[in-house]
Amino acid sequence: MTETTKPYDSTLGAALLLLPTLVVLVVFLYYPALLTFRLSLFQTLLLGTERAFVGLENYVGLLGSGAYHGSFLISVAFAATVVLGTLVVSLFVAYLLFQVEVGESTYLVAAIWPYALPTAVAGTVLLFLLHPTLGIITHYVEALTGVELDWFTSGPLAFLVVALSAVWKQLGYNIVFLVAALNNVPTTLTESAKLDGVGHLRLLRRVYLPLISPTLVFLVVVNTIYAFFGAFPLVDLMTSGGPSGATNLLIFKLYRDAFEFSSLGSAAAQSVVLFVVVALLMWVQLRVSDRYMHYGA
């Protein structure tokens, strides 16, 4: 590995080939990001028809805003729930899929299916299925358990419903990667462990998990991004951030501030903060995981 041959002799040639990608990145990511930062220093009316420079006032405003603090904490809790929930459930399902010997592809397709559904469609369908008074699922759950599932008025329940929906939506993606990773583990290891009489769960924990850790780290990162940015349609369609802000994720709050409440400047500041938070989080995740990760199986 240390002595790799360079695929291109000329640096210029390589640069030229990279150029299209760089142009796309600059035009569609870096430049808008810079504009967003600039916008975060302004106070605006409507979509910026009138704007006034206010320096860091938008950021200072966020620091003192109780609603923003609440939204921040909820987003972190939501991300933790979704990342953990998705990983645990999908790992379990993937392990079963990996072990099953009959009709494997049918199960796999079934497990991946939810991922094929656009989140917005999933949100709309789930809202009707889970609606506290009209939903068919809620109806039967309430009839069977006797528990009242009014998540329109209960904050923790609403949080749970959105988190579960988000987990369900992200399972397929995780399962694809995990099944692939499990299939890459040398069969010799499985065989010798079985000869030693190691049980299923122990096998998963002691043999497979360390070997698929690079994939797990990748999934943690992707799921984190998903939890912070991708759950937006679910919140927008199912709870509108309520009740009483219980599901008011940062991404939803900033969207609403920008496009519904016409505070583009403050929303831009929130967007910058969110970007920094997620970037930092990913950096930490990669640093920490480096210590435990096992490469080169």
Partner: protein
Amino acid sequence: MSDDSGSPLDRVSRRQLLGTTSTLGVAGLAGCSGQSGGGSTETEASDDSSDSGADSGGDEETETAEPTTSGSETTIRFWHAMGGALGKFIDTLATEFSDQTDGITVEATQKGSYRETLNATTSAVQAGNPPAVAQIFEIGTQLAIDSGAFTPIEEIIPQDRINYDNYLDSVLNYYRIDGTLNSMPFNSSNAIFYYNKDAFEEAGLDREDPPTTFDGVLSAGQTLTEEGVADKGTTWPNHSWFVEQWFAEQNQPLVNEENGRAGRATEINFESEAANNIFSWWTDLYEQGQYLNPGIEAWGEAQQAFLTGKTGILGYSTSSIAPMKEGAKENGFELGTMQLPVPEGQRNGTTIGGASLWVPSGLSKPKREAAGEFLLWLSQPEQQKRWHTNTGYFPVREEAVSQLESEGFYDENPNFRTAIDQLRATEDSPATRGALMGPFRKVRTIVEEGYVSMIQKDNVDVQKGLQRIDDQSEKALQNYNQKVN
């Protein structure tokens, strides 16, 4: 492996791993972001109809190139927020106008929801390429004025071509500010209650005599549930629009400065007796199991609950009289309509909801004139009659109503009569003209979330909830006013 001992090998492998997985990863991320784009279709249905822009935000048409003015042919663009059947109807109107008028072609495009249409229009004005006519929702009125991006239609339509005396004042007054008509009312509606005549009869209530007061709705609901005819008495979307209507009925302006029409509003009146009447009743209904909570601005869910017989009464908009009647028929019951219930003896009238048509500034002369022609044509009685009878939206012209009356339309369709009677009974006052304020959208959200906080398990009482709504709304007003100055 710890970072300290990190040999180049580790780094390379990690990069490689990320490299190999990145293709799928990027595809996945692209999927995520694509979906969130789709998700931005708006949940906030407009105030009046569940099938306005809300349901069809996705199918925005690609913008055609700037229509050119060649010779005597002028092409103007009309941006609106109506989806579904209403959107198709607007297309028909635009095509008919283009066919009937020499030299003018109207291209109607749906720009998504009301809010998206407003955003798109102001952006287009900034970019110097605005449509000639844009549909903007009623609560965007103050925003549209403050944006400075529009010309009042009184300056667009030649004075000698229009006689405002023929227009329904109760509709025009909302959009007339300081005596100037800023925009042409297009789809106007107000709140109305529907009821299930058959369910009423089954429960032993008079099928032709629905309740008219707050208490009446409560007791009718109790009868319906006691007789096992419905799960709950009534439902309507948790929407601030209804609260605003009840403010008007009690002759209580929503904000100070004559509802924001004599000056910029700085205070909101949620600590009034009127607000207390509304919210005490509404939370009481919920606590007694008589109000089915469909969700915030959940027009579709409320309608579904009513049509499937879960409730016997529904609060909705007059704009849906025609489709609601169809829906009731499909579900095998006869639909009745009743005026908005009010607290004892306080019926001063309702305010207009819906949207109006605005003409942006900075248009070329031919386009301005074409826009004026189009607006005039739209407000002719023939068009207005069709618009009214096909939807339930109010006509803007007096003649449209009187013609329909002599044709016997209201006798054949008593549900439409309820709506038009309610409109005509409205007494002109600052309260019934409706409120003007910049952060209206935000205030509505505060009101709706405020109601939820009153019915939550660890609920705040009505008094405290109203105080909170009041405080938050005034802060929003303050912020907005500070920005404008």
